[in-house]
């Protein structure tokens, strides 16, 4: 689905991603873990082609998309749940979700999208008309997730999607992941909770200081001492 080769990323003169290579198989669930500031979000932004300047190859289904503008990548089926939610505060919950189905590819699924999101996150249905900016933090995070799902992504990038969500909601959404995979959605997730995120994913990467230093089957990684080394700063 997605292959990245020799990717560098920089903000201005500061290079934060170094020689990244990564593969995500279609229909799989891949996690990237790493301490704060390792560059996980930057990697996500690179795949979307926003804010960060990149150098290197990014391929989607074999096609080189590294020079595509963001909207083209979105049209091609990549969607991201951004760090910090980034809702449209003065728009209602419903309109926010609707913006999720903005890509022309997704517009025809709008109805189904609403049904799906509302059944998954019934709270949002309740708050349909409320301006998103006045929701509680967790509610906003739900909208951000729902909005991404509205686009019917082929590749879904999740940047700390569970931040601020109550355990019950996290549980619900986690339990949904196999279903999404069954629908053919490929997932790439960044999460702080190493244990649970690696535990459920098919493959994992560990990022340190802007480089991917380990990869492997998630279970193996979890058990490896290297991982703990990274986190304990050894």
């Amino acid at each position: 689905m997605l292959t990245i080769e020799g990717l560098y990323g920089r903000y201005g003169d500061v290079t934060v991603l170094h020689d990244i290579s990564l593969t995500v198989e279609r229909g799989s669930f891949v996690s990237v873990v790493g301490v704060n500031g390792a560059g996980k979000t930057s990697l996500m932004k690179s795949i979307m082609g926003v804010e960060i300047k990149t150098h290197g190859k990014i391929r989607l289904e074999g096609e080189d998309i590294s020079n595509w503008p963001t909207h083209r990548r979105v049209e091609a089926g990549i969607t991201m749940v951004p760090e910090g939610r980034r809702l449209f505060p003065y728009m209602s919950v419903k309109e926010n979700l609707e913006m999720g189905s903005y890509p022309s590819r997704s517009r025809k699924y709008r109805r189904e999208g609403f049904d799906f999101v509302y059944s998954l996150l019934p709270k949002l249905k309740e708050r349909e008309k409320q301006p998103a900016g006045s929701l509680s933090g967790g509610e906003q995070q739900m909208v951000a997730l729902g909005r991404a799902l509205m686009s019917r992504p082929r590749l879904l990038l999740l940047d700390e999607p569970f931040l601020g969500l109550a355990p019950i909601v996290v549980r619900q959404i986690r339990s949904l992941i196999p279903k999404l995979k069954n629908q053919g959605i490929t997932l790439l997730m960044v999460e702080q909770n190493v244990a649970s995120s690696l535990g459920e994913s098919d493959w994992g990467y560990v990022m340190v200081n802007g480089s991917l230093v380990f990869e492997g089957k998630a279970d193996d990684l979890l058990r490896s001492r290297d991982l703990h080394g990274v986190y304990l700063g050894v």
Partner: protein
């Protein structure tokens, strides 16, 4: 205190600085005497200093306080009117008028601050414009006090106590002194508790409040300071130009002048208004010199184009732009 450390601190950085500042100071002192035969350029310089003072005063509220007022002409006008009316009608020395104007403007600043507390961005800006317009209407219609739209014409009686001089040199030094007031206040803001509180409120009011900062006091305070100094500049303006009228003194154009100069120089920097004013006034003078006799409008057109170019190439303003360049040149790879 570790003496060695102190010494180390002094030697490498402070000395070139003292030399730098010293030569700038020396230049500013001798400059008017050098220009005595080029009085027109001295005049240009005085106007530049005048606008630098007004812009500097605006910058305290607009740049450091984030209160983007588009109505500072209100305070400028009050200063101009207070000093000249007191002089013309009551024969009070404009020095006293200047102080009175500053106090009056400070009070208006206080009221403006209180009234606009909850307003953000454009709402605040528009309210300040509205207040200026209101003052203009009052100045036009309250003709018993203000001479109405005729304005006030200040008779020329040279003398220190009248702030009227035969030579331009005293005007120069007075303008310089006024221009230094906001400069030193800005300098103080950059290293004082109040300044930090102000910048914190500017950047995020709620977060500042959570840290125990009284955002009302801080915001209103800077507005009072800024308006009082703006009024001093206004009073100087009246004495120098000798004619004031409501349509100009309370005009949007005057407010915008302060904003533009500051933005060109660099918002929230102490040198910004001074450099901005030197550039804007210098550019203006230069264009008029080059375009003598050209059709009206050509000069203004080029001035407008200059603003656009500034936006395209140095939108953050001159001083921050120079700082950035300087830092990069010095190989300062600022670490991420």
């Amino acid at each position: 205190m570790d003496v060695k450390q102190e010494v180390r601190k002094l030697t490498p950085t402070v000395r070139p600085r003292i030399i730098g500042y010293g030569s700038v100071a020396l230049l500013t002192v001798v400059l008017p005497f050098l220009l005595q035969s080029e009085l027109y350029y001295l005049d240009t310089l005085i106007l530049a200093l005048l606008w630098a003072s007004a812009a500097g005063a605006w910058n305290l509220a607009g740049g450091y306080g984030g209160l983007l007022s588009l109505g500072h002409a209100a305070f400028f006008g009050i200063g101009a009117y207070a000093s000249s009316l007191m002089y013309v009608k009551l024969e009070v020395s404009p020095w006293i008028g200047m102080a009175a104007g500053a106090i009056l403007a400070g009070v208006l600043g206080l009221v403006t601050g209180m009234v606009t507390l909850r307003m953000k961005g454009p709402f605040f800006a528009l309210t300040t414009i509205a207040i200026t317009e209101v003052l203009m209407i009052v100045a036009v219609n309250w003709s018993d006090l203000t001479n109405g739209s005729k304005g006030v014409n200040i008779p020329y009686h040279p003398g220190f106590s009248n702030i009227a001089f035969d030579s331009k040199i005293p005007y120069y030094f007075l303008a310089l002194a006024i221009c230094l007031i906001p400069f030193f206040i800005a300098r103080w803001l950059e290293r004082s508790r109040y300044g930090y509180e102000l910048m914190a409120v500017r950047d995020n009011e709620a977060a500042a409040q959570a840290l125990g900062i009284d955002s009302v006091r801080v915001k209103v305070g800077i507005l009072v300071i800024s308006s009082a100094i703006t009024a001093v500049a206004g009073a100087f303006y009246a004495q120098y130009i000798t004619v004031i009228e409501p349509y100009h003194e309370f005009s949007f154009a005057v407010s915008v002048q302060m904003v533009l100069i500051t933005m060109i120089g660099g918002l929230g920097t102490k040198w910004g208004p001074i450099f901005g004013s030197l550039i804007v006034t210098g550019m203006d003078t230069f264009l008029r010199d080059v375009l003598v006799g050209a059709q009206g409008g050509v000069q203004a057109l080029l001035y407008g184009l200059m603003l656009v170019l500034v936006v395209l190439f140095i939108p953050e303003g001159l001083i921050p732009w120079m700082k950035r360049r300087f830092r990069l040149k010095n190989g300062g790879v600022h670490n991420g």
